[in-house]
Symmetry: D2
Subunit: 336 residues, 4 copies
């Protein structure tokens, strides 16, 4: 197939610019027609690449050449833009989370289905070569029936308190990636969730009803048990590992490091830290993610990360929040 | 100090013979005077080493030359023998668990205190070189305040169902080592416990009210959170790892393997499995453990693993059982 | 500095296209004005990127806008184009080796010096993050005085025999990268060389006076000893490792792998192979290499890999060939 | 087989005491009858174990109960004691090297053959679990035809100069283990040797015609090439690694470390050093080695390390010395 997919980008913040650059330079089947951002100063990147820029998201959505929109706006606008794009019969790539409420996600889901367009969510970690390999080992049965899933997901530094206030909390802002990963790796739905956590890094986070250190236990439909540990501050960098243990064996994915050199002196061996943060760690994953979206539209394949995936990740996040407040196991169906 | 500690061993089963061999060949400050076992056929090992053997534990305890008894009898006899030995003014090394009830442990604790003897419990894993190193990093502050503790503890194969029936359950039989390790590594008491588990390996285990796959969440007094994952059957061998994450960094201990050779062919890299089971993995730990007991008596130092340690490990195990049955977080003080 | 360096590329083969893509998408300070290739069918890549294409290298060199030429033509044309570009007052990036004779390299060196232009050679491996780290540890004195250098450099598969015939032999075609690396890592000149090798993979290679398996011993001016082992065929992929051992310690760089997942089943641990070949392994190194060239011109800094570096790498290669034929240690000054 | 092998030990220095302890405590089929040492103060260890001690090696050899002698005396006495023991029809375990001259080794070889006794040499490294695994992979054909062998063998600290003077030089004192390992791992004879080395750690070593840093190239009969790198001083500990590369893949054995904990702080990952020296690294190998000797006598199996092995290791060492002095490749047959 030689046809190219014509895309428009909504939102040119940090993540929008990553997608722009990947669409331009690393996604053979894609073209970028237009990009929007509310701030005109963000248009620089678009101009540099020879692309029209606008302050109106609507203009991107209705642009006659645009076949697919890439939604990188703030979370509250994800659902409105998704619905508008679906109604304009445009395919949609939307950043995570689709939304923080079940009802709004279902509206978007309906709009997508009614209009027969494709929706893919930006759960980029699914496309990390390490996690892809673990998923593949589970899928082909090499691990047997999954019994225990362990995810470690720790950020190098907490976001500003200003951001924490509006972030939706650690579960919908940070752990939501891990909830998606849990479903993706095991291939099983999560039935219930239990949280034990605390504000150990910055006690002020508690004032917003949030925590910065969490251990989250997931019960899966197939009887397996999952555990996620999150921290907002790992001084040694971005810690992203996982392990799945099953009846036939185990597979684990480790961090990627800045280099693999080990130095030995008279005291110890010395090695490099994990890659600092998500831009470095998931650089390739972002590219594969965008390539996958473009391929799925061009070749009319089902979206590998659809609205249901968005719904479930958000639902687990909401249930985790209830578990934290009410100190009990919460069934996912309570919030669906 | 050149004096030798004269010991007597009660119980010459698998673990009793390990301690016998270590006392004879790897513990410079120790002598073995006498050993007992109810089965006369178990006396072979004692005879081979030129040591008196008897079928009476009491004979060992009251033997005039014996200064310290090594209790390797079945669990229900730990407390009675401990009390008898304490009253006979003998120092005591006792296998874990000290007992499965709080009341009985307290009786033993009282007898030990009243008679001014030393009691050390056989939590051998504390003496594993990897775990010793992690403990030392925590103690010296290299990790900062501990925030998250992760223990993986998986056996290569489940015990016979006959044994499961009388074992006291996965928490008091298997995870009790991990409960002790959690307190040891963090240097903090456990406040509450939550369990999520299942019988995924052998459903018949459920009939005994037990499980074979568990994720256990521990709340520590200092606010840290711990998580233990247990399985009765890891097909790749004995999986014994842990990691502590804190404000200044992280330390993790991996499995020891049969060898460290990596082979590469056209398909993959191939490496050895973890050491098969506890005899291989903890061979050195058992030696250091016994040496430590002998040193602590000869040099009149406090026992590094005392009755309080035994009490707390058992209490967490009892609380974990309640959590499993009642599907809720259980405070340790509920069972104390 | 906001000015951009205007470049022209000579040769659009495999390596030429890599440099083109990196100049276009990954080198902020560069522009590509024109590219040449003798085969018009190779112009597709240039056209796709909106760049003029020509069949005449001379046209690139004399193009009034071109400030720097990127020479990716076959080796015999490296020196003629370098001299022509120098005389046209253009800065030069030239692929390795600069040439296979000392005399011709010296002509190029003279032309570059006489015309006050910059010349940088494409020893891309110097820019690999692992090797950069080792170099930095040596340079800062962390390793102390280097005593032993070990380089492993093995290709996944031998080139076609047709290519072997004209390649200049394993030393000038393949090991030349390792000769440069040896000088780079140690920061010391090579004084003499000794080779022990054989044709173990394909005996027909012997007919061309060449070998496919080599151990090369280097004597350094500072007394250190280096050893390189080369093979034309490692079935497990591209094997690129090195280690430097000195008075204060050791540092070693390992292979990068396709992913870092380790799977354990009942038989063994299973891990991924090294990245397949140089395009994958040195993807980042190629980018940093080109960025470094552009920076060195724009900021008028000395070339980090100059004609002297090219001369020495070739001289060691020539001496290695003599050592193989004459079965003796050969001093580098014999060939200079 | 329940019969025990009655042994006598000649020499109770460091290595003699290791063998004594292993024969007593870790070699089920062995008994120790008597031990000799010229210094009566060394008899302490024997007395502690309840064994007769003497200052006369001859007394051990002719002791009527002794079936096998363990020769741990200084090298010059190896051949005389071996011949005396052979003539007394005693089986012999002798420390390495058997001797430093070809003629004397051949005398010993003849005496052993003429008297129909077994001789096993103490090349303990052959019994290291890592090297055993590599050997097994080569033997079963998993690596294919060996092409390149790499051995790294570095001591933590040089011996006293007094010792260097009488040691026979780095090749016969230190590298002889590596020469044996080279033949053992590849299963092929060494045809020629080339040495490049220097005195980089202590220039005074040169005064004795010796070096402290060496790269040794071995040509094997099957066309493979081997390379050994030796240093008398690795500040990070005892560095003992090897790698074999062949037509079907590669296998490498790494160092064993004090523990496997990795600590991460804001600066780097920190890991433990290799085990300090041979007593720690080869603790298990020494045990397996002695067990193998005892088994080979009791079960009348051929010695796995016989006089021919001793001859070849010494011959390579002698040839290496000539190569160092004459700066050329030396064929092993020159010295046989």
């Amino acid at each position: 197939m030689s046809k190219k997919l014509k895309t428009g980008i909504i939102g040119l913040g940090r993540i929008g610019q990553i997608h722009l650059s990947n669409l331009l330079y690393h996604t053979p089947g894609a073209e970028v027609v237009i990009a929007s951002d509310v701030s005109a100063t963000a248009h620089e990147a678009a101009k540099k690449a020879g692309i029209s820029a606008t302050t109106s998201a609507g203009e991107v959505i209705v642009h006659p050449e645009v076949e697919a929109v890439i939604i990188c706006a703030p979370t509250p606008q994800h659902v409105p833009y998704t619905i508008a794009a679906a109604e304009a019969k445009k395919h949609i790539f939307c950043e995570k989370p689709l939304d923080v409420t079940v009802a709004d996600i279902r509206s978007a889901q309906k709009a997508v289905a009614d209009n027969g367009v494709k929706l893919m969510l930006g759960f980029n970690r699914r496309f990390d070569p390490n996690f892809l390999r673990v998923r593949s080992l589970v899928k082909t049965g090499s691990i047997g029936d999954p019994h225990i899933l362990r995810i470690t997901s720790r950020d190098p530094a907490p976001p500003p308190l200003e951001y924490v206030k509006v972030s939706g909390g650690i579960f919908l802002d940070m752990a939501i990636h891990d909830f998606d990963m849990a479903r993706y790796i095991t291939g099983s739905e999560v039935k219930d969730v239990f949280v034990k956590g605390n504000a150990l890094i910055d006690p002020r986070i508690k004032e917003y009803g949030d925590i910065d250190t969490a251990v989250i236990v997931l019960g899966f439909e197939n009887g397996a048990v999952g555990v996620i540990d999150n921290s907002r501050k790992a001084v040694y960098g971005y810690d992203q590992r996982l392990e799945v243990f099953g009846s036939k064996g185990m597979a684990k994915a480790e961090n990627n490091t800045e280099n693999n050199v080990v130095q030995y002196n008279g005291e110890s061996g010395i090695s490099a830290l994990p890659l600092h943060f998500f831009l470095e760690r998931y650089e390739n994953a972002y590219r594969t993610c965008m390539q996958t979206f473009v391929d799925c539209v061009l070749e009319n394949k089902p979206s590998p990360v659809d609205a249901h995936d968005g719904l479930m990740a958000t639902a687990i996040g909401i249930a985790a929040g209830i578990s934290l407040r009410e100190k009990r196991t919460v069934a996912i169906e309570e919030v669906l």
